[in-house]
């Protein structure tokens, strides 16, 4: 079972206490954007085999959204951080690069 640490409560909880929210750091495109931008914001997903940044909600805890960096093959969790972070924190990116030398970066 997947376990993640809520960055707000600081507790490590099982996935049954969490609600998954899909890919993180999507840039929102709304009215006024091109069709292509809107389509890719809505649907085109990285869905990587390996390092993935995603949204989670501590549904049966503090109720807040947070972000996590995780490996989709090994389920290794590299870290969790606040949802009010526009890009993955530099320290976290460095940790992942060290653990996954072949990784192309988060963009």
């Amino acid at each position: 079972m997947l376990t993640l640490t809520c960055p707000y409560c600081g507790v490590t909880v099982e996935e049954t206490e969490l609600y998954p929210g899909g890919e993180a750091h999507l840039k929102r495109f709304g009215p006024g954007s091109t069709d292509a931008e809107f389509e890719s914001y809505m649907f085109a997903r990285k869905n990587p085999k390996g390092v993935h940044f995603e949204r989670w909600r501590h549904a049966y805890g503090c109720g807040k959204w947070f972000l996590a960096a995780r490996d989709t093959v090994t389920w290794e969790v590299f870290g969790t951080y606040s949802a009010q972070t526009p890009e993955p924190p530099a320290a976290l990116v460095a940790t992942i690069k060290q653990k996954r030398p072949g990784w192309e970066g988060w963009k």
Partner: protein, 414 residues
């Protein structure tokens, strides 16, 4: 290819079964093929088969990183039905179901199609209304389904608890010609015929890169070297995003784990397929006597072919309430597959931004039933650039908002 028949069985019985030939060849890749299909699951193999059978294209390779049928095709619970809601879905799923009816004869391979009947239980007022609507839609689409009341349900499935208390059975959507087939045999049967047509099925060969020139595909790089092609069909289910990334585009797909499990074998107890979508569980009995059980997908992206434990627990709990007699059964084994989920729970059969590359994916939790129809449509799309059965399943639907919403009909995994 020597035909399988009762005479062949008798002949071989008399000579200690020494004369059976290999079902398919294991060739080294050639330098170039007219069409390369990536993925030797049911959909990839069926695509190749109908390319040869219907369109006369036989310079084809099917490239598989593992062993053929070892992906979701060999991991599913084999439910076959075509009682979908939207017209394009019913068309392709009913095409598939009807091809299943005589697939064994067509392939000269026993795929054990068993149209034993399939029930989708209505356990709430909403479900009841939804399924009645599906029946009306199906009748207009020429798909034979009907609504049956709870007593008829009980007659068909005596071990079912229809009285609740939490989820009383109010009736069911019944497709009499739905059922199951033997999943491995479907892959093996197609593979054998593809090989007999002179196609190369190349196993243990992973596609690592897609080569393009001027926006057009020219070949693939594999663990067995570079192979050129005229056209490329990507049919890799849970790995579709990975292949699309190699070719330089993205897909509206997320890969999730879906699990299934079987009980110890018992005497015949249930001779139809029962799906209880409200409680997220479904069950049928295999010819070996095992109860074959499945539930819902995990909610997060995953490539590990392992799912979360609580789904097994939730589904088993729900099914025990629905079928109290199974409460003392031991479960024999459990496994997972990586399914390719789209937002509208409908598949993608489409051209792509790269000329000459076609994708067939997004079958998610329910593509086994579709294999013959999907292969038929995909072959037509690859050969002629257009297939009426596939037309509405193109990638354009995400740009245009023309979704084929089956999230109700495919609410549970099957």
């Amino acid at each position: 290819m020597r035909r399988y028949s009762i005479f062949a069985v008798a002949r071989e019985a008399l000579r200690y079964h020494s004369g059976w030939e290999k079902a398919w060849a294991s060739p080294e890749p050639k330098k170039r093929y007219d069409v390369i299909v990536v993925g030797a699951g049911g959909h990839g193999l069926a695509t190749a088969y109908y390319l040869g059978k219907v369109h006369g294209i036989t310079n084809v390779a099917v490239i598989e990183k593992g062993w053929l049928g070892g992906g979701n095709t060999g991991r599913n619970t084999t439910i076959i039905r075509s009682n979908y809601l939207q017209d394009p879905s019913s068309a392709i799923f009913e095409k598939a179901r009807s091809l299943y009816e005589d697939l064994s004869t067509d392939l000269n391979y026993n795929v054990m199609f068993s149209p034993r009947g399939l029930l989708m239980l209505a356990q709430s007022e909403h479900e009841m209304r939804g399924y009645k609507r599906t029946v009306y839609a199906n009748n207009l689409q020429g798909v034979e389904t009907r609504w049956i009341d709870r007593h008829e349900v009980k007659n068909l499935v005596p071990i079912l608890n229809i009285d609740g208390p939490r989820y009383p059975v109010l009736g069911a959507l019944y497709q009499e010609r739905g059922g199951t087939a033997r999943h491995d045999a479907v892959a093996w049967g197609y593979a054998r015929r593809c090989s007999a047509m002179g196609m190369d099925i190349i196993q243990n060969c992973e596609v690592k890169g897609v080569r393009t020139e001027g926006g057009k595909v020219v070949g693939v790089d594999t663990t067995k070297g570079a192979i050129d092609c005229g056209k490329l069909a990507i049919v890799v289910a849970g790995h579709s995003s990975v292949l699309a990334d190699m070719a330089g585009f993205r897909l509206p797909i997320e890969s999730r784990a879906l699990q299934a499990w079987v009980s110890e074998p018992i005497k015949p107890t249930i001779d139809v397929v029962v799906m209880a979508n409200l409680v997220h569980g479904y069950m049928s009995q295999s010819d070996k006597g095992e109860l074959v059980i499945g539930g819902g997908t995990d909610g997060f992206n995953n490539y590990s072919q392992r799912g979360s434990w609580q789904h097994v627990e939730e589904t088993t709990r729900a099914l025990i309430e629905t079928f109290p007699v199974i409460s003392r059964l031991k479960m024999l084994r459990q496994w997972g597959g990586i399914v390719d989920m789209t937002g509208d729970r409908s598949p993608i059969l489409s051209k792509t931004p790269v000329e000459g590359i076609y994708v067939n994916c997004g079958w998610g939790t329910g593509g086994f039933k579709a294999i013959p129809g999907s292969g038929y449509a995909m072959a037509e799309l690859v050969a002629k650039d257009y297939s009426p059965l596939a037309a509405e399943f193109g990638l354009h639907r995400f740009k245009e908002g023309q979704f084929i919403d089956e999230s109700v009909a495919a609410g549970v995994a099957h």
